[in-house]
């Protein structure tokens, strides 16, 4: 039994490492500036992987070498201060090696670069909507009191900054390549989470708050948006798309979007006709 168990432990180590190296399942090809995040993931793998392999192999050795045989007697050693403290200090160093780079990248994650374009993501069961600041570069204020069928995102009709905001309800979001964006997130019902695996960054949409994160799209293409916070039975159906494209294509798309003022004017006309 001791031989079998020792062998199985060694095989677990070999199997786990080979699975890691050979399996086709790994992070999706990155499409944002957050390569640093991938690096911290890989650094964590190296450091913790070393610890894992060392501990399991040590166990395998002990199980085999110190297996019970007739007449065998264990050693008696209650403590070994030096050994215990050196292991503690070694672990502290390893933890610092994980934490240092981690906090460094977190600092960048929470520090939005000056000049990042603000956009807004609005979640509701079970669709994504978006708002872009329009010509003035400013998003108008909003409040859920203003939400109605004519004003699905609840923009403040009296805020001049909001009149030129582009409102995109349940459609794709387009973003220009290579420009940092600060994503403001707002939910009008329950908690959602704006998640594009290729961007690495994600953040909850917390009703009652406006949350944010930032990133720079670095690869053109169409990327799927998922909801990563359970939001009721339609949770997996809450799909969306982000299209990252060059500046000219982006400008062409912008021209086709409706401003809040246009939408409310049209709504008024429709209402009058009725």
């Amino acid at each position: 039994m001791a031989t079998i168990l020792a062998l199985v432990l060694v095989l677990i180590v070999i199997g786990s490492v080979s699975f890691h190296l050979l399996s086709p399942w790994w992070l999706t090809p990155i499409a944002s500036n957050w390569g640093y995040i991938d690096n911290t993931v890989i650094l964590t793998f190296w450091i913790t992987g070393f610890g894992y392999i060392a501990i399991i192999l040590f166990m395998a050795f002990c199980v085999f070498r110190f297996r019970h045989r007739e007449g065998r007697r264990a050693a008696y050693q209650p403590e070994n201060n030096r050994l215990e403290w050196s292991l503690a200090i070694g672990t502290t160093v390893a933890v610092a090696a994980l934490l240092g780079p981690g906090l460094f990248v977190w600092y960048q994650f929470v520090t939005v670069p000056k000049g990042a374009d603000e956009i807004e993501v609005v979640g509701q069961q079970w669709q994504w909507s978006f708002r872009l600041p329009g010509r003035d570069g400013l998003l108008g204020t909003s409040d859920s009191r203003y939400i109605s069928s004519d004003n699905p995102l609840g923009l403040n009709p009296n805020d001049p900054n909001g009149q030129d905001d582009l409102v995109i309800v349940a459609d794709d979001l387009h973003l220009p390549l290579g420009k940092p964006v600060k994503v403001l997130l707002r939910s009008i019902d329950v908690i959602h989470d704006f998640y594009v695996p290729e961007f690495r960054a994600k953040m909850d949409l917390m009703p009652g708050l406006v949350t944010y994160f930032w990133f720079t799209p670095t690869r053109a293409g169409t990327f799927e948006v998922l909801c990563a916070a359970f939001c009721g039975v339609g949770h997996p159906e809450m799909r969306g798309s982000v299209v990252v494209e060059n500046e000219s294509a982006y400008q062409a798309w912008l021209q086709k979007q409706q401003t809040f003022a246009q939408l409310s004017a049209r709504a008024k006309k429709v209402n009058l006709r009725q």
């Binding site: 699975f19 399942w25 906090l103 069961q125 953040m203």
Partner: protein, 589 residues
Amino acid sequence: MVDIGTVEVIPTAEVEDVELYHPKSWVTKYVFCQDAKVIAIQYSITAISIGLVALVLSWFIRLQLAFPGTFSFITPSNYYQFITMHGMIMVIYLLTALFLGGFGNYLIPLMVGARDMVFPYVNMLSYWVYLLAVLVLVASFFAPGGPTGAGWTLYPPQAILEGTPGQDWGIILMLASLILFIIGFTMGGLNYVVTVLQGRTRGMTMMRLPLTVWGIFTATILALLAFPALFVASIMMLLDRVLGTSFFMPAIVQAGEHLKYGGGSPILFQHLFWFFGHPEVYIVALPAFGIVSDLISTHARKNIFGYRMMVWALVAIAVLSFIVWGHHMYISGMNPPFGFFFATSTLIIAIPTAIKVYNWVLTLWRGDIHLTVPMLFALGFIVTFVNGGITGLFLGNVIVDVPLSATMFVVAHFHMVMGIAPILVVFGGIYHWYPKITGRMWNERLGQFHFWVTFLGAYLIYFPMHYLGFIGVPRRYYELGERAFVPPSAATLNVFITAAALIVGAAQMVFFFNLIWSLFKGKRAGGNPWRATSLEWQTPQTPPGHGNWGKELPIVYRWAYDYSVPGAEQDFLPQNQPPAKRMPVAAPS
């Protein structure tokens, strides 16, 4: 080297034996019983029974993930109800109840040398309130609309709104059941703490307690401090749901309708929930740490390495566990600078935890390792716990958490570290103490079979699952559907995981068969089949009688780890064996 094995006896104050309550009828002996050992069995049977429900639910979950849309009884609503109930049952009603109510009740009085818990009547009430909590939980399966499907974290606003299954009755019964559970637990928990502090026999200093008692003791203190946060959160959410208050409910427009809520904070619920929820992880883990220490020491015939460090590591983990809850909320939108604090506190907790792991494996070093079934489970625990612990270093380090949170990586992580690892210890503990509880041995072959299938199967379920998370597969998806970023091979992996899960689940039947069969047909175990040192193995009767000890309480002369002491005749010295120099001359045999 400090020789802590032979520290002089420091007798505790002489306390007069309190008259025990003696059962007068069958009902007071087996049903409304005040004997902690019977209460322990009642707790364990109830917890394991409801745990079997959770096991079946996990099969349904896995069937859906491997073969989406194949089974007509798994609708999206059902699926979310299954994952919610599976999680809630496993964490609270199985693991917490089994470790504290089951192992705690059985082992604390015996291991500290007491006749019973200090408040036997309250201890009895604790079980009956727990049973009521379980029944209310079960009732929610039969309520209109079924049990809640809000996810085991019960996050508002969705937990109490339309669009979430069980929003009618399920959530109300869930919250009521939690409130009852906490009331019941508090009655038991106060007992465990006071018994450890006040009920120890003469000579049993705190630093001579077996680590099992230390683990259960610290976990109980954690639970007494953490559960109140869940208690108030449950009451507040119940008020939001029933009376329309807005503790956790901001202004909400759902499906075009302005709801009558406003001004509350859903993130406040998350803070309260995780202020309970993170210590809860350690409420489950610390008893497992303690038990596994004793299993390894006993079956390696060697003292636990670094006992004092082990005790202080337990205490350090317990204290730190109260300041790390924010790591469950890195992407909740709480103030981002909190990430610096919570990542630091979370990674610091890895240090005492790692020390415990080192000391377990160092206990094996130069041991005399008997690979009994309890020992196999203890060693299996180390593998799964180390694996789950290091993935915790991914998720605790705030920036690494960002891409991985809410994916299958998280599911794999917490199942490995607080599902599989503690459950392996539960099995190890049951195999270890079963001979004392029943007086019989179980079948060794069946036990080994149970170990190999459970340990290897569980590893095969959860190790590959992490990689689904790396791809970015989100958790809590009824159906992933076609996703451009997910390779089709991931579906194959899901089928593999499900196959492993079905096999591991089915193998548990072998365990139950073994337990029940051995109860009648097992070999007589004798009083101390493992030749162990701690007091529960030194009882005059096996199974221990009412009052545990004969006329006299045992007197403790040494720590619980005097294995293979140089010069001693046997390779173990029971805690109540007087030091050699004072030993009366043995009668010639």
